[in-house]
């Protein structure tokens, strides 16, 4: 009996590691990260709110494309009390895109960005748990902590600002749908951009 229990337990653990990839409709991976002010945040803190995760790397041309106004616009548009916008930097220390907390704050103010916090994921554990691949890379987590959207910010994978207006705004549509209590459609799209420098 004990043996059987141990076996099924190990099978469970094994299955857990096998299907670590995040899935829309499932609980979003938990995280606990420190922000640029030294404050720590975990996903559980935001129960009851819709959480946006935005992976970023300020030098990446795809990020620069969207920080030409689009990203700031989205942050303002959805910057209500119901939405928590978390910008995540997963660049490892010494790797391109890694910044100090002071630099992160400076970037936020110089770019007129309004995220609720900029989180550091130096170990890359959170980025890998979310299977975050590119910058930018967007996630929407609903009030119950269920992942509702993951993928690109829009439909045209390019570094050209001019394409933003022509693209279908997947992320914005998804967040609007989730806030209205509807499922995102599409809920999974191709993330595009620079690779995250884990």
């Amino acid at each position: 009996m004990k043996l059987k229990f141990a076996l099924s337990l190990s099978a469970l653990v094994f299955a857990g590691t096998l299907f670590a990839a995040p899935q829309v409709g499932q609980a979003a991976p938990a995280f606990n990260l420190t922000d640029s002010k030294g404050q720590s945040h975990s996903l559980a803190d935001f129960a009851g709110k819709t959480v946006v995760l935005e992976w970023t790397n300020h030098d990446c041309p795809f990020v620069v494309k969207h920080y030409s106004g689009n990203m700031q616009g989205l942050q303002k548009q959805f910057g209500t009390d119901d939405v928590v916008w978390l910008t995540v930097i997963s660049s490892a220390p010494g790797k391109q895109g890694h910044v100090t907390p002071a630099k992160a704050d400076e970037l936020t103010s110089s770019r007129n960005a309004t995220p609720d916090a900029v989180l550091f994921d130096e170990t890359g554990v959170t980025g890998k748990a979310y299977d975050a691949k590119t910058t930018p890379h967007m996630y929407v987590i609903d009030q119950k902590g269920v992942l509702q959207y993951m993928g690109g910010i829009d439909s045209i994978p390019s570094a050209k600002v001019g394409d933003i207006a022509k693209a279908t705004p997947y992320f914005s549509n998804a967040l609007t749908a989730v806030l209205a209590g509807n499922p995102a459609d599409p809920a999974v799209t191709k993330p595009y951009g620079c690779s995250i420098k884990y």
Partner: protein, 692 residues
């Protein structure tokens, strides 16, 4: 003066020479970490020709650009052409990519000088003496950081009567074609199921594939290990699917790195067949027109059936006897035709409704279910007996319809048409069978049209009669020959019944076949009694006996067949059946159940990699395991029910039964060790249960 002239000419020559060279290349465009030029393989073009342009990239050391599927990040190079009217450009002919690891991600792209070739075609009626090519190119060049760039290239090529190749760049184009994967005519299929991409490529000779590249983005997890195996003429590929996978493309390119260099082929998607897709896919206009013609011909021949011909002659007679005004006759003929055609279309509509209901319930129109096969054999036998004259089918209908036809006018004509169809039904099987079978698998409208054509064919003699009264002289007179014809037509039906019984025997075994044949005798007896009753030579009791006999014959088809076995292609697998499984489990034997389908690529790969291997066969022999294989290709309902027991609605499903243990489900993706490990585990558990 002469010196000046000479200088002038050399200057002109020099200019010409440079102009000459420049015409074949756009010249280098220098961007950050990469320089690029656009080059033509021809210095002079002629109308109607195809020529090549190469986009030549030379990045700095260790900087790379991307393939059509850039992998986890990155961006494929794209070219936006601006060409004179009529000139067309094909897609980029990509060189074979390489995997560029950026842990934990993997990109697909190119390092070092890279040549992207496109083929352009000049229309035959091209009039201008120059051809101006403009290309706007977007690329992303990365090392650790990425730099997107956009550059414009221009080439102006002369168009003359003779095409001249650009010798200076011959080598560049040769290099380009060397770096491209060689197209090979290998057939490949793939599917994405249970977190895995699986593909099977028919490959008679082992090309020692070391890596593969799928052109579809967000299909595979590019950084996951690739499983590559060649077994018995088939290359099997597996890789974890991409987290951002959303839809399986119908077809995409696959590049294989082989011992003979990279090769290119296409993979076709193969998933669970969806009923509407299946029928629409099999729809071919030519076939359909052919079937329309056949159906019309079949309808025409129906008029010769003894069950129809009296109606026809009756009507022909009433036409001839009635008012002789031609418009009146024509109108009646049209009403009769309408009656026939509408009846057939209604019949088809009923068939389609049944089909839809059947598919919704999970059983298609197929000969998978032995019970249906047996019942069909009985039905054909009964129809045959009817044609042979043992009894008459449809006598009751004929009488009730007769009254309607005797009504005068349009209504009477219309219902004569309906009646003709109704009474024809027992005789139609041999003719309608093919059309019916075809229509059952067609899109609804095509099926309805087939039946309308059948009706039109049947009504045709009447229409002819109305427009050309002389046609009546050509019509054969009803007589004994019709009865003979009818009796002859019984034999194709008997033969069809024999064929169905053979199918039944294959499915259920010899004993079951013998029982079905006993059932057939009972059906024969019942029909004979029925015929006696029709001739008023038998009473109510014999009708009751006839009914009991029919019930008994059907019951015989339900009789469980203890020795029902079907040997399938794979030598060490036995066909699955509920009874066989139950029997083995009761006998306390270990069993492996494998539910599979021909269209399930995952299943095929699993079998090749993990089940039909020497080590798995040895493990089966060691543990005295019986291997039962169920084929769900046509969604056999018995297998569907079995799958539901395990909360599954699809294949593959692998279940190991070990005496004294609950059934153990193996993972849907098997590794070569899966079976052996499961058996080792189960056998080591056994003492816990049986040590008492």
């Amino acid at each position: 003066m002469t010196l000046f002239l000479r200088l002038f000419f050399s200057a002109v020559l020099l200019l010409l020479a440079t102009g000459f060279v420049q015409a074949q290349t756009s010249g280098w465009v220098k961007a950050s970490h990469l320089k690029a030029e656009l080059v033509s393989d021809h210095q002079d073009l002629k109308p109607g020709q195809t020529f090549k342009l190469a986009l030549h990239f030379i990045p700095d050391d260790h900087w790379h650009t991307y393939w059509q599927n850039p992998g986890d990040s990155g961006l494929a190079t794209s070219i936006d052409w601006t060409l004179p009217d009529g000139v067309t450009a094909g897609a980029i002919q990509w060189p074979a990519p390489m995997a560029i690891a950026v842990p934990p991600l993997v990109n697909y792209g190119f390092e070092g000088p890279t040549i992207l070739v496109s083929e352009l075609t000049v229309p035959a009626n091209y009039k201008n003496s120059q051809l101006l090519i403009k290309a706007k190119v977007d690329w992303l060049v990365c090392k650790e950081v990425c730099i997107p760039a956009e550059a414009s290239f221009e080439l102006n090529l002369p168009v003359t009567q003779t095409a001249i190749e650009a010798r200076d760049y011959k080598q560049l184009f040769e290099q380009a074609s060397q770096k491209q994967p060689k197209p090979v005519s290998l057939q490949g299929r793939y599917d994405v199921q249970n977190q895995k991409f699986s593909a099977v490529v028919q490959m008679p000779e082992d090309l020692k594939v070391s890596a593969f590249f799928v052109s579809a983005p967000e299909l595979v997890d590019h950084a996951a290990p690739q499983e590559i195996e060649w077994v018995d003429g088939e290359l099997l590929l597996r890789q974890q699917k991409n987290t951002y996978f959303s839809q399986a493309p119908a077809r995409f390119e696959l590049v294989l790195n082989t011992v003979a260099g990279p090769v290119l082929l296409h993979l076709q998607h193969e998933g669970v067949p969806v009923s509407s897709e299946l029928s629409l896919a099999s729809f071919s206009l030519l076939d359909w027109l052919g079937m329309l013609l056949l159906a019309a011909l079949g309808g025409l021949i129906l008029n010769l059936m003894p069950c129809v011909f009296p109606v026809l002659s009756l009507k022909a007679l009433s036409l001839a006897n009635g008012q002789n005004s031609t418009p009146q006759i024509k109108a009646e003929a049209l009403w009769y035709s309408a009656g026939v055609i509408i009846s057939f279309v209604l019949l088809a509509a009923v068939l389609l409704v049944f089909r839809a209901a059947g598919q919704a319930a999970g059983w298609g129109f197929q000969l998978q279910n032995p019970l249906i096969v047996g019942l069909l054999a009985y039905l054909l036998f009964i129809l045959g007996l009817s044609l042979s004259g043992v009894m008459q089918l449809g006598m009751g209908w004929m009488n009730s319809g007769q009254q309607l036809t005797q009504k005068q006018g349009h209504k009477g004509s219309f219902f004569t048409g309906v009646l003709a169809v109704v009474v024809a039904s027992p005789c139609t099987a041999p003719f309608m069978g093919t059309a019916l079978g075809y229509a059952a698998t067609q899109p609804a409208l095509a099926a309805l049209a087939i039946f309308a054509a059948l009706g039109l064919g049947m009504a045709l003699p009447f229409l002819l009669l109305a427009w050309w009264p002389g046609f009546a002289a050509v019509l054969p007179k009803p007589g004994l020959w019709m009865e003979k014809l009818k009796q002859w037509l019984a034999y194709p039906l008997y033969l069809s019944a024999v064929w169905l019984l053979w199918v039944y025997g294959r499915q259920q075994g010899l004993d079951a076949l013998a029982l079905a044949l006993v059932g057939l005798v009972l059906v024969g007896a019942a029909c004979w009694l029925w015929g006696q009753q029709q001739l008023q030579q038998a009473g109510k009791v014999s009708s009751l006996i006839a009914l009991l006999l029919v019930a008994g014959s059907v019951a015989l088809l339900w009789y469980p067949q203890p020795v029902a076995q079907k040997i399938t292609k794979t030598d060490h697998a036995e066909a699955w059946s509920e009874q066989r499984l139950k029997q083995l489990v009761q006998e306390g034997k270990p069993v492996l159940v494998n539910m599979t389908a021909d269209w399930c690529i995952t299943c095929l790969v699993n079998e090749r990699v993990a089940l039909n291997t020497d080590s798995s066969k040895a493990a089966m022999a060691l543990y005295n395991l019986t291997y039962l294989k169920g084929d769900w290709t046509n969604k056999d309902p018995a297998i569907s029910a079995y799958l539901r027991q395990f909360q599954r609605d699809g294949v593959p499903l692998y279940v190991v039964y070990w005496p004294g243990q609950p059934p153990e489900i193996l993972p849907q993706i098997l590794t070569p060790d899966s079976l052996r490990q499961a058996l080792e585990q189960l056998s080591s558990k056994q003492p816990l249960i049986t040590s008492q």
